[in-house]
């Protein structure tokens, strides 16, 4: 019962922070991410140019009616590459956040529900990952596994599940002794069904908040590693690598770095604005 009032009281605090500004931010965030998702899904079918087609006679052309953002150092249409990169980057971003979400939720739930040795193992594992310098671990993994999407996904999953596991565990520990769980157990409901249908709904909202901001962090990490030449490999279009490729020409062709960077910043900010609104905490 005390939990109920605590929830109610935080509910009131939440209501008071929902200012018109934050509501506007949430809608802007939704709009940006919505447009990005549409671009990712239909973009590659509707762009006017093949993003891989090189026109070496027409290198570094300025923006025109034909090439909206000009062409890059190999004469490829930058606008088409920008659009197709949305599918690559957002896709990897979502996958790179979903995998740790699934792994962490399962491990956290199992640890808290069965307790004893399961709990000890999972918690020690999270301690280990938390104590490790995370980005250095990812760089080491790339150094060994080679650059590329697969290594990055493994690295993000190996590091990212910890947050979900801790979150899910804390909530499950709180509610697993509630009467309705005992009642379900007495009624012969299986452990698996109890976890999925009775325990996990309690934690889904905070997990989703973490998931949304995680997509942003993976997207940002992906762009950064690709910029360093350690992420997505050419010729696949990607925002980070596009910026790295354009850096030598930035003094004349500034739009070549401005446009892809703006895409990362826009989509990332959109995700942050959504995550902010989902966030129960008041600060």
């Amino acid at each position: 019962m005390s939990d109920m009032t605590a929830n109610l009281s935080t509910g009131e605090v939440v209501a008071s922070t929902r200012t018109p500004a934050s509501r506007l931010g949430y809608r802007i965030g939704l709009a940006i991410v919505g447009v990005a998702v549409v671009l990712a899904v239909v973009g590659p079918f509707v762009v006017a140019h093949d993003p891989y087609q090189q026109e070496l006679m027409n290198r570094l052309a300025p923006p025109s009616g034909e090439h909206w953002l000009g062409t890059d150092a190999l004469g490829r249409d930058v606008f088409s590459r920008l659009v197709v990169a949305t599918r690559v980057d957002l896709g990897v971003g979502i996958l790179g956040a979903l995998l740790p979400f699934l792994l962490g939720t399962i491990l956290g739930c199992v640890a808290a529900y069965f307790g004893s040795i399961w709990d000890v193992i999972v918690m020690r594992l999270t301690d280990l990952v938390l104590a490790f310098p995370v980005y250095i671990l990812i760089i080491t993994l790339i150094a060994v596994g080679g650059s590329g999407i697969k290594t990055l996904l493994i690295a993000f999953t190996g590091v990212g599940w910890v947050g979900y596991a801790r979150l899910v565990r804390s909530v499950v520990l709180r509610v697993k002794n509630e009467d309705y769980i005992s009642a379900a157990r007495l009624g012969g409901v299986s452990h698996g069904r109890i976890m999925v249908r009775h325990l996990l709904p309690n934690v889904i909202r905070s997990s989703l908040t973490l998931l949304v901001t995680d997509v942003m962090f993976v997207l940002l990490g992906l762009a950064s590693f690709s910029y360093l030449g350690l992420g997505i490999q050419p010729p696949t279009p990607d925002w980070g690598a596009m910026i790295a490729d354009a850096q030598p020409y930035m003094q004349q062709q500034w739009w070549l770095i401005a446009a892809p960077g703006a895409m990362v910043a826009l989509v990332g900010s959109g995700l942050m604005l959504i995550g902010e609104r989902l966030d129960d905490r008041t600060y």
Binding site: T19, A21, G25, L128, A131, F132, P133, V134, Y135, I136, L137, I139, T140, L141, I142, A143, V144, M216, L220, A223, S224, Y227, L228, G229, L230, G240, I243, A244, Q247, M250, Q251, W254, I257, A258, G261, V264, A265, V267, G268, S269, L271, M272, L273, E276, Y283
Partner: protein
């Protein structure tokens, strides 16, 4: 308290050992063999075998691991595959630029975040607070290398005050070269600090002792700077020390963007050249830096807040 310190140091030793083991195992999984790497593709096989024997990489993994640990304890990180120079010297040459960047970046980031958080807490709920909050939410999503390049485009190139890249040779050069990279690093790390510091400031401002001080007639500005800020410092120190890994990753990116000859750009070069002794050395040094950050953080918290010492 002594027991706590001993425990903390013991866990650091175990963690360092873990880092060493992981770096070693990952190095073993790497393709190619060191003799071939050092001598090149055209070297005769018996020369490669001889060198491998001399390097000791044909021994069992277990022996190799212990001699690797032994070498590191003696301060020997091996020789780089790409230049055949000792890794120690190569790292030392690159240490300066990274140290400048980290110190300047961290200082700027603290100045920025303390100012913004205090402003946001002082004017809570007004447009100032909303603007700062919006800034912290959206600027987290801005890629570090992109804000660095924008600074080059919008500040360095038009004004000519700062170099576009490089570190220069004299101390004056270093000062000029480090300004934009440090600003970039500060923009990358400040937002999270602002969020935590603001939340803690608001919490302290709402607590009993601040109310009591307010009822004694202590002016609002003094309440904030003398009563609330010191109490918000401990969680803020914790955040900065947790951020250490993120700060180093930021340094890796910034060094590449501004072509600073530091450890971060050295690491990326080493990875693209598959120069494992160099990768191992820099990774190890980074791990030590991150762990020292968290130790310094703990020590600072204990100095600032007597309650930490008890627990």
């Amino acid at each position: 308290m002594l027991l706590g310190v001993v425990r903390r140091l013991a866990s650091v030793v175990i963690l360092l050992f873990g880092v060493l083991a992981v770096v070693f195992i990952l190095g073993q999984r790497a393709p190619g063999n060191p003799g071939r790497q050092l001598l090149g593709l055209n070297a005769p096989q018996d020369a490669v075998d001889a060198l491998n024997h001399k390097l000791g990489v044909d021994r069992s993994l277990w022996t190799q691991f212990w001699s690797y640990i032994g070498n590191i304890l003696h301060g020997d990180l091996g020789r780089s595959y790409s230049s055949s120079e000792p890794v120690n010297g190569l790292i030392w040459d690159r240490f300066d630029a990274t140290a400048w960047l980290l110190v300047a970046g961290l200082a700027l980031s603290l100045i920025l975040s303390i100012t913004l958080a205090t402003l946001a807490a002082r004017y809570r709920g007004t447009w100032i607070d909303t603007t700062i909050r919006l800034f912290t939410v959206t600027s987290i999503a801005v890629p570090t290398f992109w804000s660095g390049l924008l600074l080059v485009l919008l500040v360095a190139l038009p004004t000519g005050w700062f170099p576009v890249g490089g570190f220069g040779t004299t101390t004056a050069d270093h000062f000029r070269s480090i300004v934009l990279p440090a600003v970039t690093l500060a923009i990358a790390t400040a937002p999270i600090q602002v969020r935590v510091l603001r939340a803690n400031l608001l919490e302290s401002l709402g607590s009993g002792y601040v109310e009591a001080a307010a009822s004694r007639g202590v002016p609002r500005r003094r309440l904030l700077t003398r009563h609330a800020l010191p109490n918000a410092a401990v969680p803020a120190i914790a955040v900065v020390s947790i951020q250490a890994g993120y700060l180093l990753f930021g340094a890796v990116i910034v060094e590449n963007t501004f072509r600073l000859p530091g450890l971060g750009s050295g690491l990326v070069t080493a990875i693209t050249q598959r120069d494992y002794p160099m990768i191992n050395g820099i990774t190890l040094l980074f791990a030590v830096l991150v762990i020292s950050f968290s130790l310094i953080g703990d020590a600072l918290s204990a100095i600032v807040d007597p309650r930490v010492r008890v627990s």
